[in-house]
C-alpha cells in the first residue's frame, strides 16, 4: 500500500460533474487505479470521514477537491484534507472560482431560504419550518452543516497548491494533470494546470474581422453565422476574456462561451475584464446611443461573473 500513490477525491458544494469528468477519462481511470489507492471518493468508493480522520498528516499524496465551499461541512473537510495531504488541487471551476453556486453571492442566504422553504409554488401551504443547524426530533438532537452567508472558493479557506479550471475540466487536460502528479513533474506551486495562458479567441476557429457593434442580440433573436466570430455578430461571448484549454467546445458547436475556464493568465478579475472588452466594441460616441446599445445586454453581471462571483474582487453582494 505504501508504494501506491494515496489519493482522495472530494466534493464540496458541487454537482458531481467533476467526479464524472474523471470517469470520462475512460480507460485512463484504470491506469490511475493501478498506481493509486483511492482512499476517499464518495461517488464511487466507500471511504468514510472516520477513515480520513484516522489518517496521518501528509499520508495522502494528493487531495483533489471539487465544488465550492458553501457550508461548514465543506470547510471542515477541506481543512482536514489539507492537513492529511501533501498536495491540494482545486479541481474544476467551483473549487477554483466558486462556480455556478457562486451566483448565490449575488442574492442572500435569507432570500434563498425564503424561496426554497417558505414561498415557492409547491411549498406546503402555511409552512413556517426552515432547516436548522440543530434541531430536536423525538428527543434526539440532529445537526446539519451551517449554510454560510456566502460561497467561498477553495483557496479562500485553505492553502491550495494547484488549480485545474473547467466546468468540468476537459478529459484530456485531466489526464495530463494527473500524469504530472504520478510522474512527479509538478509546476511551481500556485500554478493553473490543465489550461493555457491565453484567451479562447486565439484557439477559436471562427473568422475574426473587426468588431463594431451597433446592436447586441439575445441568442434566440438571431440565427448566427456558424463560421464568423459570435461577438462580431452581436452575440455575447465570453471567450475574449476566458482562459483557453477546453478545446473551444461551446463556440465550435454554435453556442457562445460563458467563461467556465476563468480568466486568462495575469488577469485579476474576469468580470471586470469582460466589461472592458465588451465596452470596447461598442460602436458609438454618443452617450445616449451607447446606453441604448448596452441596454441590449440584460444581466451583464450574471454573464460576466457566471462562474466566478466568489473569485471576483467584490466577491458578494453588499445589499443590506
Amino acid at each position: 500500500m505504501a508504494d501506491k500513490l494515496q489519493i482522495a477525491i472530494y466534493w464540496g458544494a458541487g454537482c458531481g460533474g467533476c467526479d464524472v469528468s474523471l470517469l470520462d477519462t475512460n480507460e485512463f481511470i484504470l491506469d490511475v487505479a493501478a498506481v493509486a489507492d483511492i482512499r476517499l471518493w464518495p461517488i464511487a468508493v466507500d471511504g468514510k470521514y472516520k477513515d480520513l480522520e484516522a489518517m496521518e498528516d501528509g499520508e495522502l499524496d494528493l487531495a483533489a477537491f471539487n465544488g465550492a465551499v458553501r457550508n461548514s461541512e465543506n470547510e471542515h473537510i477541506a481543512r482536514l484534507l489539507r492537513r492529511k495531504s501533501k498536495i491540494m488541487l482545486a479541481y474544476g471551476s467551483c473549487a477554483y472560482m466558486g462556480g455556478i453556486p457562486g451566483l448565490a453571492n449575488l442574492t442572500s442566504r435569507e432570500k434563498i431560504f425564503e424561496t426554497a422553504y417558505l414561498k415557492n409554488a409547491s411549498i406546503e401551504w402555511g409552512n413556517g419550518v426552515v432547516p436548522q443547524p440543530e434541531s430536536a426530533v423525538n428527543g434526539k438532537t440532529l445537526d446539519l452543516p451551517r449554510f454560510y452567508r456566502r460561497v467561498y472558493r477553495l483557496s479562500a479557506v485553505v492553502d491550495v497548491d494547484y488549480f485545474l479550471p473547467g466546468c468540468p475540466p476537459q478529459p484530456e487536460q485531466v489526464k495530463a494533470a494527473l500524469l504530472a502528479v504520478v510522474k512527479g513533474e509538478l509546476p511551481p506551486k500556485g500554478s493553473v494546470v490543465g489550461a493555457f495562458e491565453h484567451a479562447l479567441c486565439e484557439d477559436c476557429p471562427r473568422t475574426k474581422n473587426e468588431k463594431k457593434i451597433k446592436k447586441f442580440y439575445r441568442p434566440w433573436q438571431v440565427a448566427a453565422d456558424p463560421d464568423t466570430c459570435l461577438l462580431e455578430q452581436g452575440v455575447l461571448c465570453a471567450g475574449v476574456a476566458t482562459r483557453s484549454g477546453c478545446g473551444v467546445r461551446c463556440p465550435k458547436s454554435g453556442i457562445p462561451c460563458r467563461g467556465c475556464y476563468g480568466p486568462a493568465a495575469g488577469v485579476v478579475d474576469q468580470g471586470a475584464k469582460l466589461a472592458s472588452a465588451i465596452a470596447s466594441i461598442v460602436d458609438s460616441k454618443d452617450p445616449e446611443e451607447i446606453e441604448g446599445i448596452l441596454a441590449g445586454l440584460p444581466d451583464f453581471t450574471g454573464f460576466a461573473y457566471r462562474y466566478g462571483v466568489p473569485a471576483s474582487l467584490l466577491q458578494r453582494s453588499y445589499r443590506q
Binding site: W11, A13, G14, C15, G16, G17, D19, V20, S21, L23, N26, P42, I43, A44, V45, D46, K48, K50, R70, G99, P101, L103, A104, T107, K111, I112, T115, A116, N120, A121, S122, I123, E124, N127, V129, P131, Q132, V137, K140, L142, L144, F147, S155, A156, V157, C167, P168, R218, W220, Q221, C250, S253, G254, I255, R258, P298, D299, G302, F303, Q315
Partner: protein, 487 residues
C-alpha cells in the same frame, strides 16, 4: 454498546448525505434519520438571469444527469416563449436524451450498484467499488462498460455539441441539427447499445437472479414499501422519458392521478423538516400525513421501477419482453420490492436502445429546420421530463424582457425523499440486532436501501487532535497566511 451510529458520508451515489441511527437501551434501532446536508439555492439565484441562460445554468444542479435538467429547463423555457418549437427539435431532443439514459444507466448499474452484488454487500470497502468490479468480472467486460458509456456520450456530443453540461437547447428548438455523415457514425453504436443492454440483463440474471441469497433479499427482504408510483407516460401509457403526462398509480395498480405538466402544482406539494435541507414532496390532494405507508399514504416513489409500475406496457417490443419477464419473476405488476429498481433500469435501457434505433431509421432526422426564430414572450412554462432517477419538474416565470422572475424545481430524487427515509429506517431496524455491534457490511446493507434509488442529492437540494494551534490570517475574506504550532 453505542447509542448512535452515523454513516457519514453515504457513498456510491451522487451527492451528500448522512444516516443517523439511534439505538435504545437494549440496542435495538429506535429511530433513523436520513439527512441531506447540502443546499445551493438554484431556485433563488437564477432569478434575474435571462431565461434562455437557465438551461445552461441548471445543468450544474447535477453533473451526472445534466441532460435531464437541460431538457426540463428547455421545456419550461419553451413555455415562456409560447411553446414555439421546431417539431424536428423535439425529435432530436428525445434522441439525445435516450442516448443520455444509456450512458447514465450504464454508469449507475456498473459503478454504483454492481459492487454490492458482484463483490457482495459485506466485501472489503477498499475493493467494493467499480475498480473491484472490473477486477472481478475481468477487463473484457470492464472494457465493454467503458466503451458503451463512452460511445453513448460521444453520440450525445455528435448530436448536441457537448456530452456533459449540455449547451444545445435554445428557445425555439436546438442550436444544431444532425448531418447525414454524423448519423452514419452513430448508427452502428446504437446497435451496440442494444446488445449491451441485453448483455447487462443477462449479467443481472446470472449474478443476481442466479444467487438465491440475493433473490431472497430482493423479494423477501426489508427493502419494500407500501407507497405509490409516479412516472411520465405517452398516450399508450408506455414510459416516455422526454414528454407526456404524469401518471400516479397506487401500489395495487389503481390509477390515482393523470395530469398535464402545467397542472403539477395542483397535485404535488413539498413538506419541510428542520433536520434536513431536502424537502419532502407528497400528493397534495391527500395532504401531508407524515412518514406513513399504506393505501391512503400521500407518499410516492419516482424511479425506474415506479415508471414501469405506472406503465401498462413498454413503448418498444424487446423492452416489452423484458418488462413481462421482470414482472413474471417478481410476482406481478406493480411491484413493491425496491431492489427491483436495478432490474427496471436495465429494461429501460433496452427501450432507450430501441428508440435510438428507430430514430436512426427515421428519414426526417437529418433535416435542417431545427429552430424557430420569431418568438413571442408569454412569460411562464413548466417542463417535466423523467430524469434517470425520477420525475423532474422545472417551472419558470419571466418578465416581458425574458428575464427570469421565479423558478420552482421538484427534482427526481426529491420525490423519493420520504420513501428513502422510511426504507432506510426499516432496513436498519431489520438488520441491526440488539446487542450486536453492526459491522461495515451491515452498515453497507443499510446504504443499499438508498442506493437502489440511484439518488442524486446535488439535484435534490438544488437549492443551494499536543495542543495543535493554527492561526489563519485573512484579508478581505481571503486566506493569505497560516501559522502553525504542533500541527
Amino acid at each position: 454498546m453505542t447509542s448512535k451510529i452515523t454513516i457519514d458520508p453515504i457513498t456510491r451515489l451522487e451527492g451528500h448525505g448522512k444516516i443517523s441511527i439511534f439505538l435504545d437501551d437494549a440496542g435495538a434501532v429506535e429511530d433513523c434519520y436520513f439527512q441531506i446536508p447540502e443546499l445551493r439555492g438554484f431556485e433563488q439565484f437564477v432569478v434575474g438571469r435571462p431565461i434562455e441562460e437557465l438551461p445552461r445554468i441548471v445543468t450544474r444542479i447535477c453533473g451526472v444527469c445534466p441532460a435531464s435538467h437541460h431538457m426540463a429547463s428547455a421545456k419550461a423555457v419553451d413555455g415562456c416563449f409560447g411553446n414555439t418549437v421546431a417539431p424536428l427539435a423535439h425529435k432530436l431532443r428525445d434522441m439525445y436524451y435516450n442516448a443520455h439514459f444509456v450512458h447514465s444507466h450504464t454508469a449507475h448499474f456498473y459503478a454504483l450498484a454492481a459492487p454490492d452484488f458482484v463483490l457482495g454487500p459485506d466485501a472489503d470497502p477498499a475493493v467494493r467499488n467499480i475498480l473491484g468490479v472490473v477486477a472481478k468480472v475481468g477487463l473484457e467486460i470492464g472494457g465493454k462498460v467503458i466503451r458503451v458509456r463512452g460511445l453513448a456520450q460521444e453520440a450525445q456530443r455528435i448530436i448536441g455539441g457537448r456530452n456533459t453540461q449540455d449547451i444545445w437547447c435554445i428557445p425555439g428548438g436546438v442550436y444544431k441539427g444532425l448531418k447525414p455523415e454524423e448519423l452514419e457514425q452513430i448508427k452502428p453504436w446504437v446497435d451496440e447499445f442494444y446488445d449491451f443492454a441485453q448483455f447487462s440483463l443477462q449479467l443481472f440474471r446470472d449474478v443476481v437472479l442466479g444467487n438465491p441469497g440475493y433473490v431472497d433479499l430482493i423479494v423477501n427482504g426489508p427493502y419494500t414499501l407500501d407507497v405509490h408510483n409516479m412516472g411520465l407516460v405517452d398516450e399508450n401509457n408506455a414510459p416516455n422519458f422526454y414528454d407526456g403526462k404524469v401518471r400516479v398509480v397506487d401500489y395495487e395498480g389503481k390509477e390515482i392521478h393523470k395530469y398535464e405538466p402545467k397542472q403539477y402544482a395542483e397535485y404535488v406539494a413539498e413538506h419541510v423538516e428542520p433536520w434536513t435541507y431536502l424537502k419532502f414532496p407528497y400528493l397534495k390532494k391527500r395532504g401531508w400525513k407524515g412518514f406513513v405507508e399504506g393505501i391512503d399514504s400521500s407518499l410516492y416513489c419516482a424511479t425506474p421501477l415506479a415508471r414501469l409500475n405506472v406503465a401498462d406496457r413498454m413503448a418498444t417490443p424487446k423492452a416489452q419482453e423484458g418488462f413481462e419477464e421482470m414482472y413474471r419473476t417478481v410476482g406481478g405488476h406493480p411491484c413493491k420490492a425496491l431492489l427491483v429498481q436495478h432490474w427496471a433500469r436495465l429494461v429501460e435501457m433496452v427501450q432507450n436502445a430501441e428508440t435510438l434505433q428507430a430514430y436512426c431509421a427515421d428519414p426526417e432526422i437529418t433535416g435542417d429546420h431545427v429552430r424557430m426564430v420569431d418568438l413571442p414572450i408569454t412569460g411562464e412554462g413548466v417542463g417535466i421530463v423523467e430524469a434517470m432517477r425520477g420525475t423532474l419538474t422545472h417551472h419558470y416565470t419571466c418578465d416581458d424582457n425574458g428575464i427570469c422572475t421565479s423558478a420552482n424545481l421538484i427534482v427526481g430524487t426529491t420525490n423519493n425523499n420520504a420513501p428513502i427515509q422510511m426504507v432506510t429506517k426499516k432496513v436498519a431496524q431489520a438488520l441491526i440486532k440488539p446487542g450486536v455491534e453492526p459491522d461495515q457490511g451491515i452498515l453497507n446493507m443499510v446504504e443499499m436501501a438508498f442506493r437502489a434509488f440511484d439518488p442524486c442529492y446535488s439535484c435534490a437540494t438544488h437549492s443551494l487532535g499536543k495542543m495543535p494551534l493554527e492561526a489563519a490570517f485573512y484579508q478581505k475574506g481571503e486566506l493569505v497566511k497560516t501559522i502553525k504550532r504542533n500541527c
